[in-house]
């Protein structure tokens, strides 16, 4: 198992090196840094971005919007998900809003929210609007799929609704969220950045990317992409640590 794990890591590393090599090769062949900058140019741009006075503020602003929209979506999806699973009325009530939010293209939503909200709120609102229906559907379905036999057991032993929520529904939601945390949080992060590109708040990764685009500084855009990837890797590490803690019963 250990041997296999090292082998798979080596193959992943080799795959990354192959694509980096391919990138450099295409950059050398095209020899036009407006289309594809060389790796050394991107590294140089990363250094410049890091040295910028507001670098941390930019990163933290985007992360703050992402975390806030994610947490709000999480809370709303938990409350409405439980209510929909227990009372069908809420399920019917949520159906049109949910279908609308799921089908509307992200860009249309950004434009619409820009009309309605301030440019600082738009990225956060887009993040919430995109991620909420996904989390809500997941919570509702996971609760509805709880083994009926366990629910029957709680009926025989007259387990209170409070304990059912605390000891059964809530853990089920927790396991569900853990299984999709990285993918949904990364999606929120991407959507918030998209909102920032169009909303142009004072601080935000999206605003910076838009600025680099206006200046035709493609290596600057690539530099921000690399930074986003690094942040995503950090998130994945945190997720792995959380999973170990939450799934200790499954060992």
């Amino acid at each position: 198992m250990m041997k296999y794990s090292w082998k798979s890591k080596l193959y992943s590393l080799l795959s990354c090196l192959f694509f980096i090599g391919l990138w450099q090769l295409i950059a050398v062949i095209t020899d036009n840094d407006i289309y594809i900058p060389r790796i050394q140019q991107v590294i140089e741009s990363i250094k410049i971005v890091f040295m910028e006075q507001n670098f941390l503020k930019v990163i933290l602003s985007s992360l703050y919007r992402t975390i806030l929209s994610y947490i709000l979506a999480l809370i709303f999806s938990m409350i409405l998900g439980v209510l929909s699973a227990v009372y069908p009325f809420f399920q019917y009530l949520m159906q049109p809003i949910n279908s609308f939010a799921k089908t509307i293209p992200t860009m249309v939503l950004v434009v619409l929210l820009l009309v309605w909200f301030d440019k600082d709120i738009t990225p956060f609102a887009v993040g919430f609007a995109i991620i909420f229906p996904i989390l809500y559907d997941g919570v509702k379905n996971n609760i509805m799929q709880i083994d009926k036999r366990i629910i029957d057991m709680t009926k025989i032993y007259e387990v209170s609704l409070k304990d059912k929520i605390k000891k059964i529904y809530f853990p089920v939601m927790k396991f569900y969220f853990m299984s999709i945390l990285v993918s949904t949080f990364s999606l929120t992060f991407k959507v918030v950045i998209t909102g920032e590109v169009y909303g142009q708040p004072k601080f935000g990764i999206g605003s910076k990317i838009q600025l680099e685009k206006v200046n035709f500084n493609v290596s600057g855009i690539f530099a921000w992409i690399v930074i986003i990837v690094i942040i995503s890797i950090f998130l994945e590490i945190i997720n792995k640590l959380l999973r170990k803690k939450i799934y200790r019963w499954a060992k």
């Binding site: 709680t154 009926k155 032993y157 396991f175």
Partner: protein, 222 residues
């Protein structure tokens, strides 16, 4: 204790399981219902427990608080320890100051005190079934319904756990209604044997003395 089921009607689609079915259970004893798989034995337990809706009739003589249930599958919550699994089911019947002592007492009675803080995932099939039994005895009920709880255990373990169960029953007197399709198991319990036959269900016989010699007769009926 006297349980009376009157004019019970239950169908699944077009299939009638019970049609004007009547039975009286008034013995403070072990009652084993035996019959072929799928004949309606488990359905009767679920009706008594209020887990299955009926189309007609009534169950008299007991309420939900009188019932414990040893399920065929242990129905433990995987992310709760053995102690937490018992805690959640006994909370209603014991206050905070006594519940820990009750859990310790019942785990000691079933002989699984050592696994109190383990998760179900770390337990063998036999251990899980002991927790299932402990949960049923933990509730201060009057009747324990048992739906083939020993079905998935191997022969030796099955009779070890049945012996433990019988010992427990002498200390904690309860009425038992056990469903099984294994005649040897039913005889081993030394209680009443109620034989179910046909569909809709009919009681083909009730045996309570000299069970070993009745074995062939029961087999013939089934």
């Amino acid at each position: 204790m006297n349980i009376s089921i009157r004019n019970l009607n239950k169908s699944y689609g077009n299939e009638k399981i019970f049609k004007n079915f009547n039975i009286e259970l008034n013995d403070e004893n072990i009652n084993c219902i035996i019959g072929k798989s799928g004949c309606g034995k488990s359905t009767l337990l679920n009706i008594i427990a209020g887990l299955t809706e009926i189309q007609g009739g009534e169950v008299r003589g007991l309420s939900l608080s009188d019932i414990s249930y040893v399920f065929q599958e242990d129905r433990l919550i995987e992310w709760l320890t053995v102690k937490e699994n018992l805690e959640i089911t006994l909370k209603k019947y014991f206050d905070k100051s006594t519940i820990d002592d009750k859990i310790d007492e019942i785990l000691n009675l079933v002989g699984i005190y050592d696994i109190k803080n383990k998760y179900p995932n770390a337990l063998s099939g036999g251990m899980r079934q002991r927790v299932n039994i402990a949960r049923a005895f933990g509730k201060p009920s009057k009747i324990i319904l048992m739906d083939e709880p020993f079905k998935s255990l191997d022969y030796k373990l099955k009779y070890t756990i049945i012996d433990e169960f019988m010992n427990l029953l002498t200390k904690e007197k309860r009425m038992v209604l056990l469903v099984t399709h294994d005649l040897d198991e039913a005889i081993y319990f030394r209680g009443n044997i109620i034989v179910f036959k046909n569909k809709p269900v009919e009681i083909a016989g009730i045996f309570n003395t000299d069970l070993r010699s009745c074995k062939d007769k029961i087999l013939e009926i089934i």
